[in-house]
């Protein structure tokens, strides 16, 4: 397969490559264009999913079901989960940053399969619009993003079938992306670049892609069977026809637990890129970081049944999955301690990217602690399917991954556009997101412990106050999007010109112009063997070598 490059007919002035903006609506094969396509599309769906979350929080301001009908409420919560997971977080942390950064990191001019890459992206908008359109046309699915049968078999079929179709398309997109990342990381490395010299994000994406390739197909197969149950009235998962609803849960969680790692491993990788740059220190414990990613990948595949401790699983299974789940805390803990050690003794720039990354550490540690608790069967029995779980996973995927996405945008925006984001607006954005997020989700742990189940439109009046606090937090989070959007639009056109390497970073994407040329480097791709080689005393320059460490030194 040859790489095709979109023709460039005029030289572009610094800025947004205005002559080429139509490329972002085209079947472009440039990995950078595709990455930004993922990001913008993902952010659009984030706004959609956020609006849905807003509807949920408005409904929950009062203990009775008064804002939207109960059916609509269930549609809204189903769409919220599906949109946020499959159309925002997965495409953005994998597709957007993966496509943009991985070729730079391996020293390639594009992904291994540019066409497949474009196909993978262009599956997303139709799938997303299909899903959203189902809400307006036939009524969306009502059975939650888990779509447990028999409920998913008895709720209106049209919405559920559209939901399945849409998730299948998104799963396909995800698998194509995963194949592409694996091939790019393993096969496209610049000569001389060893695996253990890659920036950490490559390892995270390699691990993520392995999970995608191994687990997503199982979900696809399961959903095909579920659609047979709905359309052809087979009885795979329908107990009334002799089927078994628990088998669905096993198969579903075989994907959907790894899906959590598909959402957070790339975030781990991104944080590992951001922290060393802004702390001016090498990433602490590179080797253990790599092995802990591989450990998480392996353990992530064998813990799914901890979502089913109340679903009549036998004791041995509960015991096994408890232990396996709890042990994920070990590799994860290594990563967090390594990050703390990276910060220790650094020269930390307290900018937006750093603040978002540190908030990620705090939130994820909190989510991890509640996660280890949830892995304990006796504890889980009480709080399973309650707002405790809702609080827990929002700490992991929002407080964790979404905070990293914002941090990463602040970090890489200069590379994307050649202009800096406004720092004051950025810190303001951080502040209200941080407050809003914690206000919204911390009280939910208490709600769950005290008896509020999840996915309800009405609840015991004793929980009113906490729910109202939570809704205020949600409102703040909604508001926090505004300074961000203003910042992005304003800075894209009239932000401070960033230069090629505003952070003085060493990873390869900074060693080219901003925004980078179509084939990434004008000349030969640089060989960066020490992507985290910060901290060498200025003056020690060896012009003979061209590793990142020396380049940085010479830049001083």
């Amino acid at each position: 397969m040859t790489i095709a490059f979109p023709p460039q007919t005029s030289s572009s002035p610094p800025g947004l490559q205005p002559e080429g903006w139509l490329r972002y609506l085209s079947f472009s094969l440039d990995h950078k264009v595709i990455g930004l396509q993922y990001m913008v599309a993902g952010f659009f769906f984030y706004l959609v999913g956020g609006a849905l979350a807003g509807m949920i929080r408005v409904e929950l301001v009062s203990p009775i079901s008064d804002f939207i009908s109960r059916e609509t409420y269930n549609e809204v919560l189903t769409l919220h989960g599906t949109v946020m997971i499959f159309l925002w977080i997965v495409p953005v942390v994998n597709g957007a940053f993966g496509n943009y950064l991985i070729p730079f990191y391996v020293g390639a001019r594009d992904m291994a399969f540019p066409r497949l890459n474009a196909v993978a992206f262009w599956l997303i908008p139709p799938a997303g619009f299909l899903l959203i359109a189902s809400y307006f046309i036939a009524g969306a699915a009502q059975s939650g993003w888990t779509a447990y049968p028999p409920l998913s078999l008895t709720t209106p079929a049209a919405g559920q079938v559209v939901w399945i179709l849409s998730v299948l398309l998104l799963g396909g997109s995800s698998i194509f992306g995963g194949i592409n990342f694996i091939a790019t990381v393993l096969k496209m490395r610049r000569p001389g670049l060893k695996l253990m010299q890659l920036p950490m994000y490559c390892w995270a994406m390699l691990g993520t892609s392995i999970l995608v390739v191994l687990s997503t197909p199982v979900l696809a197969g399961t959903l095909v069977l579920l659609s047979f149950d709905i359309i052809a009235h087979t009885g795979f998962f329908n107990p009334a026809l002799g089927g078994n609803a628990v088998v669905y849960q096993h198969l579903f969680w075989f994907y959907s637990h790894p899906a959590v790692y598909i959402m957070v491993l790339p975030a781990f990788g991104l944080v590992s890129e951001i922290l060393p740059v802004h702390a001016r220190k090498p990433l602490f414990g590179y080797t253990t970081m790599v092995y802990s990613i591989l450990g998480i990948v392996f353990l992530g595949l064998i813990v799914w049944a901890h979502h089913m401790f109340t679903s009549a699983t036998p004791p041995w299974m509960r015991l096994f999955f408890t232990i396996a789940t709890a042990f994920i805390a070990v590799p994860t803990g290594i990563k967090f301690f390594n990050w703390l050690a990276t910060l220790w003794g650094g020269k930390i720039a307290l900018n937006s990217a750093m603040l978002f990354s540190c908030a990620f550490i705090i939130h994820f540690v909190f989510g991890g602690i509640t996660g280890v608790a949830l892995a304990q069967v006796p504890f889980d029995i009480h709080v399973h399917d309650t707002y405790f779980v809702v609080g827990h996973f929002h700490y992991v995927v929002y407080g964790g991954t979404v905070f990293v996405i914002f941090g990463s945008i602040y970090h890489w925006f200069p590379k994307f556009t050649g202009r800096m984001l406004n720092e004051d607006l950025g810190r303001f954005h951080f502040l209200i997101t941080f407050i809003g997020f914690n206000l919204c989700f911390a009280p939910q742990h208490w709600l769950g412990l005290n008896g509020m189940p999840r996915r309800v439109a009405e609840y015991d009046p004793q929980f009113t106050l906490m729910n109202q606090i939570s809704s205020v937090g949600a409102l703040l989070m909604a508001v926090s999007t505004l300074p961000f959007l203003i910042n992005v639009f304003w800075s894209a056109f009239s932000g401070r010109v960033a230069g090629d390497n505003p952070w003085n970073a060493l990873t390869p994407e900074w060693l080219t112009s901003s925004p980078p040329p179509v084939e990434n480097w004008k000349g030969e791709a640089p060989l960066v063997q020490h992507p985290y080689g910060y901290g060498v005393t200025p003056g020690q320059i060896d012009l003979g070598a061209a590793t990142g460490r020396e380049i940085w030194s010479s830049g001083q």
Binding site: P217, F228, T234, L241, G499, D500, P517, P526
Partner: protein, 214 residues
């Protein structure tokens, strides 16, 4: 060695030019860089791992159903073995014929290669025919019971793969008519179809084992 220089805040202008123009000279390339070595076989293999996981999910579901869900009275468990066994032989044989075809191609025997490709496709179609005959002679339908549904889902999904594979074989067979389309060294189409065909064959063996023999 490198053609760039580090830059700093103060100097937005640097040695790197804005995006390349089409007319510009080919870049200084590392040997393997822009020839973009062909990783399609690797990609296909990864895809087949994913595809195999779909089957693995189905197998796991089937085995669990069998272990946990009792069949209603009157449901058929014993399957006729003759036809599926013949089918198995056909499919295994087709793997060998495809291997032979690829071997001929590597020796630049295009004619022989095309013949063996045709034989392979024929065996694949014969398998599909056998499958059809079996479907029509089975005493149960898709929605009769859990076992029947799973049987049709598994064999049907596999049959879909065989159909695609046969189509792929016929396509490369047709493409091979053009001289120079496939050479002894460059024949991705044939190679890909072969790998896929072996995969489908291997899946069938597992499927045959757990569906018919177990």
């Amino acid at each position: 060695m490198t053609a760039f220089s580090p830059s700093s805040d103060q100097s937005p202008s640097n040695t790197l030019a804005p995006p390349l123009r089409e007319g510009s000279a080919p870049m200084a390339q590392v040997a393997t860089e822009n020839g973009h070595p062909d990783h399609r076989m690797f990609g296909l293999a990864t895809f087949l791992v994913a595809d195999g996981m779909t089957f693995a999910g189905f197998f796991a579901a089937y085995l669990t159903f069998r272990a946990v869900n009792p069949l209603p009275a009157g449901a058929v468990y014993e399957l006729e073995l003759i036809l599926p066994t013949i089918n198995t032989v056909l499919l295994v044989l087709s793997s060998f014929t495809f291997h032979r075809a690829a071997k001929e191609l590597r020796h630049d025997q295009l004619g022989a290669c095309r013949l063996w490709l045709l034989i392979t496709a024929g065996l694949g179609l014969a398998f599909l025919g056998g499958q059809m005959v079996e479907y029509f002679s089975l005493p149960f339908g898709l929605t009769d019971n859990l076992y029947a549904s799973t049987f049709y889902a598994l064999t049907g999904f596999h049959g879909l793969h065989v159909s695609l594979g046969a189509l792929m074989i016929l396509i490369v067979w047709w493409q091979a008519r053009t001289p120079g389309r496939f050479t002894a060294d460059h024949h991705f189409g044939v190679e890909a179809a072969e790998l896929y065909w072996h995969f489908v064959d291997g899946i069938w063996l597992v499927l045959y084992g757990i569906l018919y023999l177990l």
